[in-house]
Symmetry: C2
């Protein structure tokens, strides 16, 4: 269902030949009613043409958005002035086929960088897409945005606002180049609640900060990352001051589900790892250390091997550029529902058996808990391990 | 020859059982004359016991150093107060066996973190080491400091100062956890020139900045990294103001040779890559971008696959946190002795054939040249690719 779960949204996914494999590569999501929209974009200095286009459109109008075109297989990044022109051409065509002004159409792209967008293929694909839009098209759309993902990521949350049922639906793709601050992923979220543009922006920022901004697969940051939300008001109830918190919780929860799904399906990933740093002077320092641990290749390969080589975790923490007191550090690991196992106790190795540690490191979900002993603040990120398959996938991505 | 090439140095390497494999794991390098010494250490906040010990000794005395004990297979890091006590015990024993005060003995360790140093094994090993010290022992010592390296790194430079022949010899180990600012490697350099402690420190800093500080294998930074130099004056000539530059050139050249050898032998590495960023506002920004590209897993796996997926290089540059103008960027690649091939020309893809690009990306040496179009400054780093073997080696390092 994904983005078509809320009322008044239709979607589809078609294969237009951008991907040589013949897989679905063009998604179209349209709303029967004008939408408010908000988005969070990559902070990469090199941004795809569609990012620049969306930023312009979102600045130009505060409401009235009608559809989003998403292609996979081609990032339309580093494509020069032609790249931006191509986005205008595609959105204009989509608008005319759907009967809406071109500036009510948004666009996202994901795939190979530096290759011109095959506009003719997308043009043919769009014609078929418009004729196959349906309320059942959410899953096809979710499949059409994938690149090296192995399964579509979809999530739905329902809540009641003043007695009226409101739905939030989302689809996402990730797999490689995923890192905090909008690294590489796309997510499109729809809701039938009515939400004004400013409130929608605030809600999205808050939800993204607690979800997509906390995941890292390989530390790379994409030129294309976008999380976008459309609110079409079809449910007939508005999110106001009183219902903000309720909606924010549901939206955050949906984003966390999709973010974790992205990490679980990280390129070659075999396990999901939560890195939690507590006892920090500030949450920023805690986050910085958590990210540094999550990015360490030596840590990630040890996770892959199920090898309790925890010294690498401390070494990575020490290299994060945050002043530490080595004698104040403690480290635990924990698997789902298991008790934390103390490995390092205020500066010295703790007493535990290799077998206990190995059992936890080999679990499909693993929590690493590092106490800095410096303060009261904490923060965390989710990441995955680094496997042979990551290398296989990325050493010949284009071929 | 390595560290025994300069006059008055003897060395050896023995197997004392720290490594389960029975490989050489204990090196001893001794000087027949008192030495001045200088060292550059890791900037990791978590430092091995031997680093703390060496810092204390180098601060305590300005000359008179006589020997360095180096063990591999155990990092003696994150080992608590016992770790430091172990270093004092080992160096005291080495001193008494050699007939020198304990504070004239330095120590380095490399290997697994968080495991207590097997002092009894080292004690037995030291007795054998002292009795096998010789002027031919440089290679055995160079082998005894290796961990996952596949070959020893040794280099020699000779120069003439006021008609007297002076020799500089070095040995190094690297392989994993190698990154600028003293990530993971050990290097010990010896010279028979006479150099006062302050001058030696300045010479070493300058040489390291142009060599070991420019290499990155996996972006990890070790708890143990050390580059150390001993000068024993056995050649009978001093490096003075006039001969500083000559000596510095030779020392730098020797360090560059060893640094490149470390990268070439990076864990699982199949090629050496030079990342050069020019046209930057400052050399710091150029270096930051070069490092970010060198650390990108997507870039490193593309190098491994010989895949000219250059968009990833630009994406990594854009994520370095340095403001860029995407339309001013140009990118070339080049193999040894080949002409640079333009891939991206001030914001747009350039005209080249896939075959030309692929031939360069598949070469064993590859230079990436990125022009930011923002200024006149430049900087560079050396790195390697990321292969299946890196994952294999590091997913089960301890087993």
């Amino acid at each position: 269902m994904s983005v078509t779960a809320p009322r008044g949204f239709r979607a589809t996914g078609v294969a237009c030949g951008i991907k040589g494999s013949g897989a679905l590569d063009l998604a179209l999501v349209a709303s029967d009613h004008p939408c408010t929209a908000a988005a969070v974009f990559t902070t990469n200095q090199i941004q795809a043409a569609s990012i620049r286009y969306n930023q312009t459109m979102l600045a130009r109008r505060r409401a009235g958005f009608r559809a989003v075109v998403i292609n996979s297989g081609n990032a339309n990044a580093c494509t020069g002035p032609k790249g931006l022109l191509d986005v205008y051409n595609v959105t204009e065509l989509a608008g005319s086929l759907l009967g809406f002004p071109p500036d009510t159409i948004l666009m996202m792209s994901t795939g190979v960088i530096g290759v011109p967008l095959p506009v003719e293929k997308i043009r043919a694909g769009l014609m078929r897409a418009v004729s196959t839009l349906s309320e059942e098209g959410g899953e096809a759309a979710a499949r059409a945005i994938l690149t090296t993902d192995t399964y579509p990521k979809m999530a739905i949350r329902r809540l009641s606002i003043r007695g009226v049922r409101v739905t939030i639906g989302g689809m996402a793709k990730g797999a490689g180049m995923v890192h905090p601050d909008m690294a590489t992923m796309l997510a499109l979220i729809t809701t039938d609640a009515e939400i004004d543009a400013d409130r929608l922006k605030a809600l999205l920022r808050s939800a993204v900060d607690a979800s997509f901004h906390r995941i890292t697969i390989d530390g790379d940051q994409s030129t294309n990352d976008t999380v976008m939300i459309l609110a079409n008001g079809a449910a007939g109830v508005a999110v106001d001051e009183d219902s903000m918190v309720l909606f924010e919780e549901a939206l955050t929860d949906l984003c966390v589900e999709m973010a974790k799904a992205i990490v679980r399906d990280g390129e070659g990933a075999t396990k999901l790892v939560e890195i939690r740093v507590q006892g920090a002077r500030t949450s920023e320092e805690a986050r910085r250390i958590a990210c540094h641990i999550a990015r360490s290749l030596l840590v990630k390969t040890a996770f892959y091997g199920g090898d309790p080589n925890w010294g690498r975790i401390l070494a990575a923490a020490g290299a994060a550029g945050v002043p530490l007191n080595a004698d104040a550090l403690s480290l635990w690991v924990q698997h789902e529902n298991g008790a934390p196992l103390l490995l390092f106790d205020r500066g010295s190795p703790a007493f535990y058996t290799e077998e206990e540690a190995r059992r936890i490191f080999q679990a499909p979900f693993l929590r690493v808990l590092l106490d800095l002993g410096l303060g009261e603040e904490e923060d965390w990120v989710w990441t995955c391990d680094l496997s042979h398959d990551y290398v296989s996938i990325n050493s010949s991505y284009r071929t």
